[in-house]
Symmetry: C2
Subunit: 148 residues, 2 copies
Amino acid sequence: MTSVPFNWKLLEKAELNQSFDLETALNHLKFNADGLIPAIAQQYDTHEVVMMAWMNLDAIKETLKTQRVCYWSRSRQAYWRKGESSGQIQHLKELRIDCDGDTLLLLVDQIGPACHTGRRSCFYAVADQDELRVNSEPLISPEALYGK
Amino acid sequence: MTSVPFNWKLLEKAELNQSFDLETALNHLKFNADGLIPAIAQQYDTHEVVMMAWMNLDAIKETLKTQRVCYWSRSRQAYWRKGESSGQIQHLKELRIDCDGDTLLLLVDQIGPACHTGRRSCFYAVADQDELRVNSEPLISPEALYGK
């Protein structure tokens, strides 16, 4: 078995459509001290950024294998299979890694709201002059999402 | 001077276009142990996610005041006024905060490439079956961006 060298500097110089072993690249991801990496979720067709959460290496591998997004919940200290309690799952369309291997961009098909408030996107608070303004309403009430 | 209460739970229940004092909200942002918060930069019109970097409170305030994006560089441990050495500046169009106050979304007008490799976006490496594939070429060479 041949060993293909990999580092993020090599990737910089790569030509269009040049490819590297994915498993090797994943093993070069730069996780933080808690073993986590930020993952941005963007709706693949409308390009709306719906949320950001965190993944560990196993969550990334599960997501790639199942094509359903699995995060690591820092508050619960547990795997967080998006939609497992609300039904609002995220189908993975594409996973991208940034230039220095410390952030992920997930192109997803988000069923219903991504936000626990019932809004489509978690980014619903907008800085507007000296105020923070709410720019959207829930599609579904949190009570309906999570039960009473 | 009246004091308006603020917390992220109050925001959840807010109605469309309800607003809160921005300065108060910024003081409730959840920074990490290094005093930083992740900031996703998205091109405001095409909706392409071009990069993610980190900000401290002063970088956020400077960005809102000047409407030019200023990050905190973790590698250089210094303010990073995007484009100060490359000329590829980011004009701020809108700053959004997520539902629990621990991530920012910046809608920007990115002049030229956002990525230090000269590519438009830092997210140019795509997981494709068992390979990591380069999906774009530099618009400008890094040498031209940063000088020799």
